[in-house]
Symmetry: C2
Amino acid sequence: MAAKKSERMLVDEWRGILAVHARTTCELDRELHQYGIGASDFEVLDVLVEGCAEDGGTAFRVQDLASRVHLSQSALSRLIGRLEKEGLVTRGMCSEDRRGVRVAITDQGRARHADVRPLQRAVLARMLADRPS
Amino acid sequence: MAAKKSERMLVDEWRGILAVHARTTCELDRELHQYGIGASDFEVLDVLVEGCAEDGGTAFRVQDLASRVHLSQSALSRLIGRLEKEGLVTRGMCSEDRRGVRVAITDQGRARHADVRPLQRAVLARMLADRPS
DNA sequence: GCAGACTACATGCACATGCATCGAGTGCAA
DNA sequence: TTGCACTCGATGCATGTGCATGTAGTCTGC
């Protein structure tokens, strides 16, 4: 019976995660759409900006990004392609491993991120507010 | 500074949710794939089985389902179509509102659900184990 | 009873994602 | 040096999703 109960709790916890995730992602996509980017796009920009502030390193390897945003390598490759086409990031050769690609955020990318950030934080605050910590 | 700190916490919490969600959904999809269904499919079957046990009502309106699994109406419509094609659920007319559709789980659907359930619970237990409650 | 607004579900379409694969580059062993 | 297994990132393809719309049925006010 204890096992029964913990199974119930497990399922409820999972349903809770599913619910918050769905509501927040949906809201995020909707709100950010007016700036021409989606939730995943912002996540990448956010990592890029954070990473630069952190160590001054202006560039990320694609796989470094992949491990931080939860996207397959192919999805990330295309996402970077879209951001590049919009002028928010640049792809550059990686001198120490010529297979690799260095992704760097542009000034325009920083500006877009700065524009969107307050909105994104507000959505997070709103959607995560009434949650059990 | 307190505001700064709480923003950090907010973002970290969100990243955490993103991480658990991505890992769990991915694992779930992979594990359940051998039974020919995905994570969303199971969620629907789960609701159906639960609902029947609950009140004996053998049928759900599509919109009742939509409010429980976090899917758009169109996605749900197609998902039900797939389940129907596999013989796991049936679509029936709704006598009191002929626009509506009643979705009922079949014996085969119950069987599939019973097969998959332990595996799904195990994945949840594994992925949600090392989490702050 | 009828016209028009509304609701329930299905479907056309655009698009993001994951898997498998490819081409290029690296590094190790013979 | 050459050959081979491996890694990195890009791309073809199948699929699942959401938005907008279509079709059928309901309800309200006259």
